[in-house]
Each structure stands twice: as C-alpha cells, then as structure tokens.
Amino acid sequence: MTQTDYDADVIVVGSGVIGSLAAHHLAKNGKSVIILEAGTRVPRWKIVESFRECGNVSTDAGNRNQPYPNEPWAPSSFVPDYITNHGPIDYIPGMLRMVGGTTWHWGGACWRLLPNDFHLKSLYGVGRDWPISYDDLEPFYHQVEIEMGVSGDDTADYSGQNGGAFPPRQAPYPVRPQALGYFSQRFRDRVAVGGYSFTYQPNGRATDPYEERPACVGNNNCSPVCPIGAQYSGDRHATKAERAGAKLISDATVYRLEKTPDGKRIAAVHYYTPDKRSVRLTARKVLVAAHALETPRLMLLSDVGNSSGMVGRNLMDHNAFSLAMIADEPMWSGRGPVQQGDVLKWRDGSFRQKHGCIRHEVGNFVGNVQITERLLSQGVIGPELDEKIRHMAARWVFMDSNIEMLPEPTNRMSLSASKRDFYGLPLMDIYYDVNDYARAAGNVIREDYANFLKLLGGEIFDQNLSLWENRDHPMGTVIMGNDPRDSVVNHEGRSHDHDNLFIATTGIMPAASVVNPTLTGCALSLRSASIMLKEI
C-alpha cells in the first residue's frame, strides 16, 4: 500500500547554508518543508556580545568556535571527545551546531570550481571525475550567487592564467567588487614584480546593501562573527525558508533514518529533544544536509546508504602551510574584511598530473595578538613594547596556502568505539593523512614562500612548512559518482540505495580542487532541490 499521509513533503536535516537554501527553494515553490536542526537558535547580537566577552581576540589564532553555543546535545567541533583522531594528522575542522550552521564564522569565500576540476581523472590521470560537468552546475552557481549576494570580479581569470574572464558565467556577479584596501594594493604591487598575480576573492559580503544586509564597512571581524551581518551567513536562508512557510525545529538532534521494510526508501526521520524524548516524522523525501562529518555519522548510525562501504571515507581537505612575515614597509593590514584576494598561479595546469593545485590566500588580519605575545615572551616591556607592536603590526603580512587533495578511501570518519554523545550514541573518530600528491605540492609552496619573503623584503615571523594545517573544508565523505559500488550518491545527490534520500553537503564532492567548497556545496544542493521539486 502506498503511503499518502506525510508530516511534510520534504524533511531537511540541518539548517546550515546548504540545507537552508534548499529548504527555502522548496518552500518558496509551495512544498511543505520541515527543517530539523540539532543546535539552538541565537540572534547575532548575542553572539557579538559573547565574542566580546570570551577573550577570543584574534580572528586568526583564536578558537573561532568559542563565542558560539555548545549545547550538551549539540556541541561544536572543538569540544573534547566530539572528534577523536588516530591517524598521522589530527583532523578537527571548525564547525558550529546552531541555526545557520558554520557560515556564522567563515571568511565568506564563494568560489566556483573550474571546468577542469570536474575531469581530473580524464585530464590528468589522478583522482576521480565528477559525474557532472561545470555546465551542469553553472545555472545553480548563478542562482546561489544571487541568493547569497556574491561579490566578484567580472574581469578576473579565476584559473590564474592571467587570461580573460574565466570560468564562463551566464551573468555578471550580482554584487560589484569591494575596493581593494591599502594592504591588498601594496601586496598586489609588490608580488607582481615577481610574476605573481593577486586576484580578487569572490565573497558573500555586501559591497552595497543587499536584501536585508547592510554594506560591509570593514569591521575586520568576518570570523568569528560579522558584527553587523554584512557578510552572508546561513541563518539568512533559515529565516527566509521560514518566511516562505518552512517549519524549523531547533534543538532537534536527528539520530536515525528509518528505512522501509524493503530497505529501498527512507520511511521516517527520528530525532531527540533535549529532554531525551524521541520524535518520528515522515516525509516524501529526505534531504540530509548535516555537514560533511555529521552526515556520514547519521548514515552509519542508521545503517543507511552504505552498500558501497564508502560512507565516511575519502575525506579530503586543503591541508597546507602558512607564512607570517614582517615586511620592509608599513602594509597596514586589517582594514576591510579579513581576506580580499589570492594568488592563483598554481590553480590549474598540466602539473596536476604530478601534484595538487595550490592557492595562496592572503590574510588581511592584524597580528597584534601574536606580535604582543612574542614580544612579551622575549621580555620586551614598557615604551619599547608599544613601539615594537606598532612597528611590526603595521608591517604584518600573513598568508595561508591550500593544496588540492585526492580522495583516498583510507582517510575516513568512522563511529567512535568509546566516545558517546549526550544521547549515548557513538561520536566520531577520524583517520587522516595527506597523500604524496598533496605533499609534492608542499615543495612548491616552499619555493613560493621564499619568493614572497624576497619580494616583500620580509623577515619571517612564523613559517610553517611541516605541520599540515587543515582549512576546515571537509569533502568526499559521502562521495558522488556513477558507480554504486564505489560511491554513495549519484549525480543528483540521490543515494544509490534509497530512492527518496538526497544528500547535500560538501561531502558529496568527488574532487577537492583548491578553493573553499561552500558555493559548490550550495549549488549542488539547489540542483538536488530542483530535481526533488519535479518529483513531488
């Protein structure tokens, strides 16, 4: 007998940007939608107040999760035991559990992938090909850019080859680029001498007021929190989805996806309330958009969608190195947003047969905290301390690099054997290592850093060329592919095993590229939502 009575057309698990965009799209088109969010809901002003009081004064070096909620039933990622590691590299990305998700504390980067990123295996003989191409995703990139109000440079060659505008777009960016701050201008001019181009980073900050967001005025606090909400965050579309008719239930930890007796569909979604009551909801379709780590965790807990054995595997990030230097002239970093541009010299090319592509992100932070700590540790005090802080902070240049990683089944998230959550369910354990393909790119970074130091007359303040810093860009854990034997979802984001189960997270990306994956995750999510719309 066919079921006809459901609690909703679609249940969306997760109210971050990826889930909320899809929920909004579905609700706007007349579908009944329930969004379940494990975390709680907090207005921006309370986060700002919490940030100011928590002693987390450095946007770069501090714990960015710290000003945010840590409900016992929805801890953020740095809470001890939430994620344990047993591999060579510790991997715990910054991640928030609340209405709006982790884009509460991001840098706002909104990159499109390049067409070549979708054909890594065919073009360069490494990694995997996507089952779709850039052209399939372009309309959804466009749609997301309008939803989020993305600012970008319509003339930039984002493949880093200094050619014409690339990749192709059906329309200009909806928001014009922000003027480059003095720091960005000086950096651009100084490194240009050495043949490095500085490219404006597409971002979700409002150069001009956009919808209900005021224009960015350079509080330089994009992360941990934009105090005025000029920077896009997922809570925007969580709220917009509600206005369009979606029902959002916070403090609802989904712990089980219930299969139909024949195992072919998802019959219901079960969640716990903070008083440990269990609630069962049914829907025609289920969209799990619960982050690249919590999504596979939920699937493993539910024994769902894992006929390939790939759930939780192929974890990728953009692990790489960083460099902080004191340049030979005052650069005045720290005006404007925390990042404005990148060096994309190694964005794409035949070298990808041998090593991963590289992106150097140029930070626009102020180094006062690190500088002061260093000077105090050296015993510098009094007027000399003031003078040196001023001197060094004015000349502070920081960059962190990203490297393309390939999907390796051994890099995986699995259920913890010993750690349990508030409800007694297994937490997460991660094994992670950086493969030779990425390590080879590390050697290129070494050379680039030497060049940057020369070009800026820099003195090393801190150079990390050995520890593989993660970039909080988890991907690959519920990997997309055509073959149900080695992938979790098909090109639609639909589970190979369960017809009415869709997965939307950066975890479905089968190739990591080297750019922040949020926009791609969002485009994939809207693509899945548009497919779901046609079927309901």
């Binding site: 907090v42 207005p43 921006r44 002003w45 309370k46 986060i47 700002v48 107040e49 919490s50 100011r52 009081e53 928590c54 710290q66 000003p67 945010y68 909620p69 840590n70 409900e71 016992p72 001009d208 007021p209 209900e212 967001r213 005021p214 224009a215 005025v217 509080n219 105090p227 005025i228 909400g229 809570d235 709220t239």
Partner: protein, 409 residues
Amino acid sequence: MHRSLHHAMTSGITLAVVLLFSPAVKANGQALIQRGAYLARAADCVACHTRPGGAEFAGGYGIKSPLGVIYSSNITPSQAHGIGGWSEAAFAAAVREGKSADGHRLYPAMPYDSYAGMTDDDIHALYVYVTTQITPVDQAVGPVTALHFPYNMRSLMRVWNWMYLDKGRFAPRPGETPLQSRGRYLVETVAHCGTCHTPRNFMMATKSGHKLEGASLGGWYAPDIAAGENGPLASWRDNEIMAYLRDGHARDRGVAAGPMGEAVEHSLRYLSEPDLAAITAFLREQKRRVQPHHRVDTAVSVSRIYDVDSEQARATRDLARQQRNADPRPYADRRNYRDIEGGAALYMAACASCHQLDGSGTADDFYPSLRKSGTVRASRSSNLVMTIVAGVHRNGADHKASCLPFGMI
C-alpha cells in the same frame, strides 16, 4: 520614439500628441515629456501604482487603510487593462476628482483630494508622459479592492467628495513670492505631503485646521513638519531640511525610514534644488502656537569618531559591566546565552558596531548619530520602535542606506 509614435497613432489620442513628433514642435514636445516625467516623480505615482517586484505603473499594490486593503490600478496605457483609451479629460477627472473613466468612484487612497489643485498645464504634461512614454502592461491588476459594507459602496464617495473635496485649482496668492507659491503647490498638491502628515477624521478626510500636524500611519508616525515658529523643525537649517528630503538623512537631525524612506527613494530625491528650496520655504511658513513636546538640544555632537573614552562611552560600558557583574553566569557558560540581556548589552552588541559605543555615529553620517536624532528623542516612540523592528532600507540621492530589521532576524 518609434514605439511612442506607433502607440499614439493606434490609441488615437489627441492630435496634439501626434503633432508633438513633427520636427517643428519636437523640442517643445521633449520639454513637455520631461516635465510630465518630473511631475510623475514629484507626485510619486510609481510608489502606489507598482506592486513589489511587478512592472512599473501596472498597479496591484495593496494600500493598507483602516477600512481595508485598497489595490491600486494599472495606469499604463494598456487598452484593455490600463488607461490606454482615456481622453485627457477623463484622465484629469480621475486625478483631480477621483472619477474613473467608467464612472466608478475612486477611494481617497488615491490622493485626488490633494491633486485636485493640479493646474491644467501640469495635468496635460502628466497625461502626455503617462500615455506616450510608459510601456503598456496588458495585464489585469489581479487582486480586487473589496471593502466591507458600507465602504464597498463607491457611490458614497460622491457624498464624501461633496463634503471634503476642494475643487479649487492652485493659483499664486497675492503677496506670495514665487518660491513660496511653488512650495505651497508642491507640498499641498503635487507631493501631497498632507496625505500622511495631516491627521484624518473618522471619515478618513484630512482634518481641516490641522494641516501637517502629524498622524499615525501603520505603526509609523508621520510627524508634525512645521519648520516655522515653535514648529518641531524650527531648529533645522534650510540645507538640513533639503538634505533630508534629497538624501533621506541629515546629521544629528534624523533619517527617513518606512514610508518616508519610500517617499525619498521614489520621489523626493529626484526633485530639483529650487523645488527642494521651495518646499523648505513653505515649511518655514508653518507655525505652531504651542511649544513642541520634545527637547531641542543645543549640545554639540562629539567630533572624534572613535572616542571610546568619552564620558558617554564610559557610561555605556560601565552599565553593561554592572549588569554583567550582577549576574555573570550567562557570560561564563556559553550554553546560556538566552540569558544575556539588558539594554546596555543589547546596544553594545547590536547597535554600537555601526552607531559607535557612544552613539555618535560616523562623521559623514553614513551611520547616523543617535545622540541628537529626532527619532530617538521624540516624545512618541513609534518611529524608533519601528526603525528597530523594520530597519531602514532607503535609496537617497547620495547613497543606499540599510539598517537591519531587528524584529525579523
């Protein structure tokens, strides 16, 4: 031009309009069209005759009145759904007398009681502009105005008109300077300021003898705008009144939000400097017998933008600290931020990032000062509350202004 000509021919409107396109009178015709376009801006037709996201002038905008929602009509020159077949006389009757071409009566949500004074020349310019320059939208308005009994009886409007409609045309008065009479014409007739700023009686007619004295409007309050003796705007300088109308803000005076923000965005920012000066001159003539309720502060606003050590700033900070020390728990444990509260904490976290710790805003007024703002200091808190709840979204002549709608996030 081709489309306009074609349109003029097919719709068979007056010979005069067709003649406009003969070379001899072309320059004259252009001037007439420009004048009509300017009048349409000044009369703010587009604001009410455009549905959010819809085609300009195609109607369907719902005006919420105490009697129910009144939907505006399609005033594009569409034959089927707009005013395409209307003669200039029919157009004039609608604009000045609230009589539609098909004979039905308009509700005074259409401010024909203000437009009644519009001169024949201006009606002509407006008619030519609307019928030749606006793209026809061949689409029905959609929602239909359906007020409850007895207001659904449009014929009753005849009585209303008899009681309240002053059919006198505008004409300069003896002793008036050209500036004063132009100002009176703009305020009372074309820009219909009294539609919002003059209180209405139980019949929804503007109260005689209370011109521009202030009235409530959907949660907002359109304040008394007398700028003469004892008027609330008496302390504003001429250039401040003009800047407010043009840009939607004047430092230490106030900002235009809500319906006034819309008036700036759609209409006032397009007015010429002489017209802004004329409006200002007219407002100066408006005097009040009693002292305004709110204080007129003579203190000078702080000049240093980031002076976080000012007395004001210290007081704000101390208050927040006291509140925190009285109950430190919410700050010690981040699970409890539902408990973070208190006006000072709220101000510091939600407002100070833009308006500064001491409320002085920025020197260029991009972020307005709150210290002397008329909105903050008003004896009536409606506009302050509405600004906080609904935010500010306004395009002025200088820039786009945006304040978050804190009631919606």
